[in-house]
Amino acid sequence: MKNHHRLGVALFLIPAMAVFAVYFIYPVGFLVYTSVMKWDSITPMEFVGLDNYRRLLGDGVFHKSLLNTLAWGAAAVFLHIPMAIVVAMILSRKIAGWKFFRTVFFIPNLISTLALAMLWQFIYNGEFGLLNELLRSVGLGAWQRNWLGEMHTAFPALIGQWIFYIGFFMVIFMSFISTIDPALYESAQIDGATGLKQEWHITLPLLKPAVSIAVLLALTDTLKNFEAPFLLTNGGPVNQTMVLSLHIYNKMNAYQYGYANTLAVMLIAIGAVMVLLVRLLFREKDV
């Protein structure tokens, strides 16, 4: 019955393809084209070859935002995902109230990054922030500080306002764990393997495909960071918390459209490299 309706198939694909062409294919081509132009959006574009790319080499803000993106990605892979795995393992053992906790841990993932950023602004505030109040009330008043305003705490604070919202990946891991044959755990139990050993030797290896997907999603999410740095620190102090999206946004607002698009091309390239690396890494391990 396939191929009997060429016209119908084509007609039904047209709307989605049109949207995709206008909002994905054309913009990416446009980015690459304008990345070799000097362009302020008012006077006509001027071809400058690879000048914009050369400018990247000397752009300290770009370097800092690149480093921050990598650090954020590392935090996602080595802290965020492992925490999600541990909590998923615990809740999968059907401890009392596991359904309640699954819902509760997932809820922050439904709330906009903007609303959460507003909340953490209040938590980190140097004058009346919750964190400082908490420290003072337990006798650690000496640790109080303006968490988002100081050079060495601003970036960790930015990571801290997101890293514990593990619900999204936890749900993915839990559904994977639920497909594992319980007989595996039973026989391990008979052989005398403790709960921890069971998780290490049975659950973790079988979770590998889920981990590969989670790493991919977490890394691509890292590239989308904008709201939290924009609202909490605006990249400061002294670009300590700058990320690529915010750098692009600032260049766009400064009417450096050409250079903004060069940065955007870099963002896409980094995303592509990440996807390829993750696919490669997890494929090799499977063999």
Binding site: P27, I95, I111, S112, P182
Partner: protein, 275 residues
């Protein structure tokens, strides 16, 4: 499951308690804080309000024009969900009935999921400006529909594929044409799946901030997210009123989630399994 796996109680509950404290308590604290006066919020942040009062909500509604923002968010989100699902179900059906090139189109479009959408700030601004949509709700509806299309297509196609072949074939035998099969047979069958995809698209539209900031500038067309971000200056750091606005912006999402939790989790799982 009859057989339950044993757990070391104390450390396990310590971990759960920790995550409970860092994830949900601050959010509950916002809810409580929205019923305090601003002065009380500063002076005794951890206490329950002395008197629960709705003044902050009133202020957010009157000064912050929360009602207008809310209506804009609903309008943008619902229309974008409708258009996105319409295009995606048509495309998914076409891919399931089409040949190799239709499948190739599917692969290319779903690869769009991995494109860092923040990189398209300048092009999306120019596209909206070209179609003279800047500073209208239509700029957001079109942009969000496009942004959500790859994931919606992936989810919907998963459900289309899970429809038993026999049903489609017997429909064909009975003389059901291409278009009739789509509207009268396929759509009713995948309705639960469409609900899942709809929730994800709704979440995207409701919570999106960057493009709402770039493409709209007038209070009349702004959505909740951008509107609330402006409260900071509007209310002169009146946090209590801001909290009230945040609570209002979050409530619809929480209600939808609690009602349709099963579909959300199912969608996450099926989406991830195929990813």
């Amino acid at each position: 499951m009859k057989w339950s796996r044993p757990v070391a109680k104390l450390p396990v509950y310590a971990v759960i308690a920790f995550f409970f404290c860092v994830t949900i308590l601050p959010i509950l604290w916002i809810v409580v804080g929205s019923f305090k006066s601003s002065a009380e919020l500063m002076s005794s942040p951890f206490s329950l309000p002395e008197r629960w009062h709705w003044a902050n909500y009133e202020k957010a509604y009157v000064t912050g024009q929360l009602g207008q923002l809310f209506v804009n968010s609903v309008f943008v989100s619902l229309l974008s969900v409708a258009v996105c699902l319409w295009f995606a179900t048509m495309a998914a059906y076409a891919v399931s009935r089409g040949g190799k090139w239709a499948s190739a189109v599917y692969v290319v479009m779903t690869a769009g999921i991995f494109l860092p959408i923040n990189s398209l700030m300048v092009p999306y601004y120019l596209i909206a400006s070209h179609f003279e949509l800047l500073n209208t709700r239509w700029a957001l509806i079109t942009t969000y529909t496009a942004m959500g299309l790859p994931l919606t297509l992936l989810l919907v196609y998963g459900f289309v594929r899970s429809v038993p072949k026999e049903i489609m074939e017997s429909a064909h035998m009975d003389g059901a044409g291409f278009y009739y099969t789509y509207g009268r047979i396929l759509i009713p069958l995948i309705r639960p799946g469409m609900a899942t995809a709809a929730i994800f698209q709704f979440l995207l539209c409701w919570n999106e901030f960057l493009y709402a900031l770039l493409l709209t500038s007038d209070q009349k067309v702004r959505t909740l997210q951008v509107g609330i971000s402006m409260f900071k200056s509007q209310f002169n750091a009146d946090f209590a009123a801001m909290f009230a606005a945040i609570v209002v912006s979050v409530i619809p999402i929480i209600i939808i989630f609690l009602l349709l939790q099963k579909q959300v989790i199912q969608g996450l799982t099926s989406g991830a399994l195929k990813g």
